[in-house]
Amino acid sequence: MNIQWDWIAGNLDEIAAATLDHLWLTLIAVGVGFALSLTLGIMAYRRRSLYGPIAGVAGLLYTIPSLALFMVLVPFTGLSVLTAEIGLVSYTLLILVRGVVSGLDGVPRDAVEAATGMGYTASERLARVELPLAVPVIVAALRLATVTTIGLVMVTALIGEGGLGQLMLRGFNRSFPTMVYVGVVASVILAVALDLALVGLQRWLTPWARARAA
């Protein structure tokens, strides 16, 4: 294992650009995936009969091997960010829909009943009682989806995207291990940073969860 530090020092711009690219691909995938999952999850929570079909489709998408999915999409959407994101978003759905539904299911029934009985409308109750109480479970799903997506973004290097994946692929093709190591280390740092950010978000959203009997 011989790392060429001078290459790293001379190519910080490229490394930073690849990392930023990786970050964006991840954030877009998780962001769009979360918006879809929140909508689908709330629908499934309100109409239980929808949960089976929604979870079924999300589960089916999840089982398609990532490389195969990207390859299938290329004839339709080309070698593009869109192709990459369609695949990446698809893979977040199973984790996030399940997270949203089990988060909402886990809200104490008596809090929901009290809210209804005191005259919350269904949407007020969702916004003020159910979603806030589901935050810990939903954020746990977001953390899992984010870390998974960071790994999958690597694969999109094969269709011309991939952020740090590009770096690693080029290093591999050129038998230049330093680029591979940089890709690995940078993606781990990215994963840890995003995970910590989500933990911070959860702590900020749930001050009540830290309050314990004095």
Binding site: E113, A114, M118, G119, A209
Partner: protein
């Protein structure tokens, strides 16, 4: 000064209210059915719905704020059909305390209490003021509790917050579903007492659900006993239900000790107290002895200069010609507060193994005596009622469902 809203109350009337579920709903665990329930609760009264599990008491309660819609019949609030009212507006006008309190764990105590005011769009300052006022009312210091979260409170404190939250928008009606069910018996009794004291000034119309007949008797101005299948077995004041159960079911449900339960409805001060022969320390024995011989008890009660009991002296122990002293005396026990229930008084007398207890006022001054015999006399009256109840039960086993409307 924000309004306390004392005395704002509405009437509630159930008119032939029925709720039934089809087979499929029952299999999925539907709530219990209610069968042709008719009863009227006057404004400002506490009506307790009591019965064994599965009698539909919670279902009846939830039909008032329409968490459950009746299959047939009407529920009138101040004469207006609840079904015709806007659902959210109806619910925001009804205080609701549920079995496990149901505080919002993610909101502070002040935010929890201000729930309905917030829904009604009150200003933040008015919400905060109201929350503080109500926390004080239920005995929780706002400075200590307002910013805490429900997990930081004890069970009893949470129940108090639940009551404060239900009172927040000064609703004319309160629905309380086993509101003190989740705490230990000692805390429950204290919460019951506090709530009754609160209700004296608030005078809300309250529908209160419990499975505990003792709680029903204690809390209710009116008690509705429901039987299995949601049939009203009897409706009336607690004393009436205890004295003359309308059916064998009611008699069984209120229990074989209902004579004793009736004793818990009366207080010592309601009795005609026996006047003891009293004397002050230092009085000359001769005169005291003469009066003691004329009294109904062979004992003389020594009191201090402001009539607080000191000791009992048997009349044979009194030394004529000498000043009375506490030396040969037995301690003046037991003392009974004038507000003690007859049930407690009897229990204290039996525990102390004496025939007479000394009833005192708040200043510990002697008001009179109460004897086991006197309380037992009341029990005998109940026993007569018992026979009558059994006779009614014999005619209509299972209950005829009408009862007497109070």
């Amino acid at each position: 000064m924000p309004d306390r809203g004392a005395g704002r109350a509405a009437t509630i009337a159930f008119e032939h209210v029925t709720k039934h579920y089809d087979r499929r709903e029952q299999d999925r665990g539907a709530p219990r059915a209610v069968n042709d329930l008719t009863l009227a609760v006057p404004a400002g009264k506490v009506c307790v719905l009591v019965g064994p599990s599965g009698c539909g008491k919670t279902t009846s309660l939830k039909m008032v704020n329409r968490l459950i819609e009746p299959s047939a019949g009407r529920i009138l609030i101040d004469g207006a059909d609840a079904a015709a009212r806007d659902l959210t507006e109806l619910r925001r006008g009804i205080g609701y305390v549920i079995q496990h309190v149901g505080l919002f764990p993610h909101e502070t105590i002040a935010e929890n209490v201000a729930t309905v005011p917030r829904l009604l769009g009150w200003s933040a300052a008015r919400q905060r003021g109201r929350a503080e006022e109500l926390l004080t009312l239920v005995g929780l210091d706002p400075a200590t509790y307002a910013a805490r979260y429900p997990t930081q409170l004890s069970g009893g404190e949470r129940q108090r917050v639940g009551v404060a939250r239900a009172l927040a928008a000064d609703p004319p009606i309160m629905l309380m579903d086993e509101p003190f069910g989740a705490v230990d018996p000692i805390v429950r009794e204290r919460l019951q007492d506090e709530f009754l004291r609160l209700q004296e000034s608030l005078a809300k119309t309250i529908l209160f659900v419990t499975h505990d007949i003792d709680e029903a008797i204690k809390m209710g101005d009116l008690v509705a006993v429901l039987a299995d299948g949601g049939v009203l077995a009897q409706f009336g004041p607690p004393a009436e239900i205890l004295a003359s159960p309308a059916s064998a079911f009611v008699a069984r449900f209120v229990g074989t000790d209902r004579g004793l339960k009736r004793l818990s409805l009366s207080r010592v001060a309601d009795l005609e107290l026996l006047a003891p022969v009293t004397a002050r320390i230092g009085d000359v024995g001769t005169d005291a002895h003469r009066r003691a011989l004329a009294g109904s008890l062979p004992w003389l009660l020594l009191v201090d200069e402001i009539d607080r009991p000191v000791a009992w002296i048997h009349r044979d122990e009194i030394r004529t010609g000498e000043p009375l002293a506490a030396a040969h005396a037995a301690p003046a026990v037991p003392l009974l507060d004038r507000r003690a229930t007859l049930k407690d008084a009897l229990s204290i007398l039996l525990d102390a193994d004496v025939l007479a207890g000394i009833v005192v006022d708040q200043g510990q001054r002697v008001l009179g005596l109460v004897t086991v015999a006197e309380i037992a006399g009341l029990l005998r009256d109940t026993a007569i009622g018992d026979g009558a109840g059994a006779a009614v039960g014999g005619r209509a086993p299972g209950g005829d469902g009408s009862g007497s409307a109070g």
